[in-house]
Symmetry: C2
Subunit: 389 residues, 2 copies
C-alpha cells in the first residue's frame, strides 16, 4: 500500500520488470546492435570529455548543440526533407522524442492512429497519455490508407471526434518489416491535411537497406507542420549513446525543447557524435552495419525454412526484424514461452497490438545474434515448435 | 498557425528561448560549475567507451547500471537514508527526476506545496502538470512548517482537497540559501503522514557545505514511502553528465523506471561515473569544489557590501546562491534588466514565485564566475543600482 495516490495515468505502469535472460539465451527479442559491430569510440570519447570539457561538462541548451542540429538538418536534407537547424531538437532517443510529442499534443481521450501491429514501446508511451486508438491494418504496401480514409470520413459524417495524430514507422516497419509505398505516403499526407491530424514519422531503420530503393520520407512530400520526423543515433552508430532528434517546424521544435525536463541532452555524447561524423566514420560504419544485418537476415530466413516448416514471412528489404506467421494453429504467446524454455527469445504478436489481434505472429530481431547464434537459436525455435505439436 | 492543436498543458510552454549572453557578460544567473574546477574525464571516458563498450554502447536497463545504483544506495546511506539498489532509479538529472515523480503522482488540478520563493525550474515542471500551488513562506530555519500545519488543518476542516505532494530543497535552499532545521524536518515528516502527501526532497547541494553541521535528510527520519529523495551528479562531478537519481520504495522506483521514456539513461556516462568514484576521485573533487565555492561566496559578500549599500542577505552555509534583498524601493525586475545592460546577469525574484511575490530580491549564483569576474560583476551591479537612483 502506498502513502500517496498514484496519478490516473499510472495504471498503465506496473513495477514488473522483465527478468534478465538466463545465460546462454539467444536473443531475437529486442533490436540490440550486433556486439561485434560496435565501434571503438574510446579516442573520440576522450577528446569529447577532455578537449571539449568547457562545452561537454556544463549544462547545455535544451535544443541540442548547434553543430549536431546542423548535422541532422543536412542528414534529413539528403532524404529530401527541407530543414534548418532551427527545425531540429536533439533528444534522448526516439522514444523520448515520441514522449515529448505526446506531451505537446496529446490530451487524455485524444485519438491516435496506429498500425496493427505497431511498435510496442510506442504503444506503451501512448497508453500513459490515456489515448483512444484507431487501428489500421497493413498489407504488402504498408498501412491501408484507403481503409483509414473510409473510417475518417465515416467519423466525420457521424460527427465523431477526429484523431489528433498518427504514428507510423513507414520504412521497414517495426514489427512487420514492410515499407509504406510512395503513393500511399502522398495519400497519407493529404489525409492528414484534410482531417487535421499530425503525422509522427519514426524513421530509425532507413539507412539499413539491403536491396530495393529508398522511398522518400513522408515529411519530404507534405507541407510544413503536417509531419513531425523522428530519428535516432541508436541505429546509425550505437544504442548506448541515447540520442536522437525531432525535425518539425521551429515553433513545434522550440516548444518540444522547452518541454525537455532533462535540462538539455548530454553534451558529452552529442560532441562524441559530432566528432564521429566529422571524422568521416558514419558512412563506412553504416555500410558495415548494412552488410552485417543483410547477412543476418538471409541466414535467419534460411534457418527458418528448415526449422519452422509451415511458417511464412515477407522478406524485409532492410531493418532489423522478421514478422513471422507461425504455422497454422500455433499460438504465438505459447510459442514464445516454449522458445524461452528452449533458450531462444522472441516476442509474440500480442506485444504489438494497441488493443487486441490474432496470436499468429512472432517478431524475430536478427540484429543482435551472431550467424552461429542465429543458426542455433532458430534450431531451438524448431524444438519449441515440435514440443507444441 | 499550427496544423494540429496543442495539448492543454502546452499553454505553459512557449518557444521563446533565453538569448545567449553577449560576450563579456558576467553570469550570476544559473548554477553552472566553475569552469576551472571541471575535472579532466578524458581517460575515464576512453575506458568507458572502449573497454566497456559491450555495456556502454548497447541499450541498458531503465533503472540504471546496477553498480551505479549500489553506489547511490551507499552514498545516501552515509547520510542516514536506508536504501538498497532496488530503491534507486538512475535518471537524466534532478529535473528529470521531478518530472517522472509528477508523471507517476500528479493529476491535473492536484495541489502541490512549494516554498515561496522556490526553484524556478521545479515550478516550470509543475506548471506543465497543471497543478494548484499551496505556497508556504520561509524564515531563517526554512519552510514555516507551523504555518503549513495550520493551513492544512483549515483545509481539512473546510473539506477542501488536500495536497498530493510537497517539494523542497531543504539543504541550502534554491534560491534562498537557508537550511531547514532538524526539528522542522521531523515535523514536516509527521505532517506528511498525517495528511497523506508525498515529500519530494531535492538535495543537490548537501555536499557543498562551507561551515556548520549537516542536517540529516528528511528521508532519514521518515517512514518508507513518505519521502522521495532526488540527487544529482551535476553538483557532485559536473552538470554535463546529465545524470541523477531517485531514492524511493522499490514499488515507486520500479514504476518511475517504467515511465522513463528514454529507454534507459546513457550507460556510457553512467560507467564514467562508476569509474570516477571507484578511482577515488569523488571526495577530493568535492573538497576542491567546496573550497572554491566557499571562497566565491566570501568574495561575493565582500564585494556586495561595497557595491550595493543597503542590500541585505543571509549568509548561506553552503550551496551556490545568495538571495539578496535589494535596497529599499529597488524593483528586482528593473534591477536585473539594468544589470544585464551593464554586463552582469542575475535572476529577479519574480522567476521564483509559483504565483506572485514581492519584487525585492535577486538570486546571485556565485558558482560560475571566477574571483576576478565576481569582483568586476558585482561592481557592474553597483553601477546598475546607481543608474536606477
Amino acid at each position: 500500500m502506498n502513502h500517496a495516490r498514484y496519478a490516473s495515468r499510472a495504471r498503465w505502469v506496473t513495477d514488473t520488470t522483465v527478468g534478465n535472460a538466463p545465460p546462454g539465451m539467444i536473443s531475437f527479442g529486442s533490436g540490440d546492435a550486433y556486439p561485434e559491430g560496435l565501434p571503438d569510440l574510446g579516442d573520440l570519447a576522450r577528446v569529447a570529455a577532455s578537449s571539449f570539457r568547457q562545452e561537454t561538462l556544463q549544462y547545455s541548451g535544451r535544443a541540442g548543440l548547434p553543430e549536431l542540429r546542423a548535422w541532422v538538418a543536412r542528414h534529413v536534407g539528403e532524404e529530401g526533407v527541407r530543414a534548418t537547424p532551427d527545425d531540429v531538437v536533439i533528444v534522448n532517443g526516439a522514444k523520448h522524442a515520441l514522449d515529448l510529442v505526446c506531451r505537446l499534443f496529446v490530451d487524455p481521450g485524444d485519438t491516435v492512429i496506429v498500425t496493427t501491429p505497431a511498435y510496442m514501446s510506442a504503444l506503451d508511451i501512448f497508453r500513459t497519455y490515456e489515448v483512444q486508438f484507431l487501428e489500421v491494418t497493413q498489407d504488402a504496401e504498408g498501412m491501408r490508407v484507403d481503409d483509414l480514409r473510409d473510417r475518417l470520413r465515416a467519423r466525420r459524417n457521424a460527427g465523431s471526434p477526429l484523431p489528433k495524430l498518427l504514428y507510423d514507422v513507414p520504412e521497414f516497419h517495426n514489427p512487420s518489416g514492410v515499407t509504406l509505398s510512395a503513393p500511399r505516403r502522398g495519400a497519407l499526407a493529404q489525409l492528414a491535411e484534410e482531417f487535421g491530424f499530425l503525422i509522427v514519422e519514426d524513421d530509425p531503420y532507413r539507412r539499413i537497406r539491403f536491396e530495393g530503393t529508398a522511398v522518400p520520407p513522408i515529411q519530404s512530400c507534405a507541407p510544413p507542420g503536417v509531419v513531425v520526423g523522428i530519428g535516432t543515433f541508436s541505429k546509425l552508430i550505437a544504442p548506448g549513446l541515447r540520442l536522437g532528434w525531432v525535425v518539425a517546424t521551429p515553433d513545434i521544435a522550440g516548444r518540444l525543447g522547452r518541454l525537455k525536463s532533462d535540462g538539455g541532452s548530454c553534451p558529452l555524447t552529442q560532441r562524441l557524435i559530432i566528432e564521429y561524423a566529422r571524422a568521416g566514420h558514419m558512412e563506412p560504419h553504416l555500410r558495415d552495419l548494412t552488410r552485417t544485418y543483410h547477412a543476418h537476415r538471409d541466414i535467419t530466413m534460411e534457418a527458418l525454412k528448415r526449422a519452422l516448416p509451415g511458417a511464412r514471412w515477407s522478406r524485409p528489404q532492410g531493418g532489423y526484424y522478421l514478422w513471422v506467421h507461425l504455422p497454422y494453429g500455433v499460438d504465438a504467446d505459447r510459442f514464445a514461452a516454449a522458445a524461452w524454455r528452449h533458450g531462444a527469445e522472441v516476442l509474440p504478436a500480442s506485444e504489438f497490438y494497441a488493443t487486441a489481434g490474432p496470436a499468429t505472429h512472432i517478431r524475430l530481431a536478427y540484429s543482435h545474434a551472431s550467424p552461429a547464434e542465429i543458426t542455433e537459436g532458430v534450431r531451438r525455435l524448431g524444438k519449441a515448435l515440435e514440443e507444441m505439436r
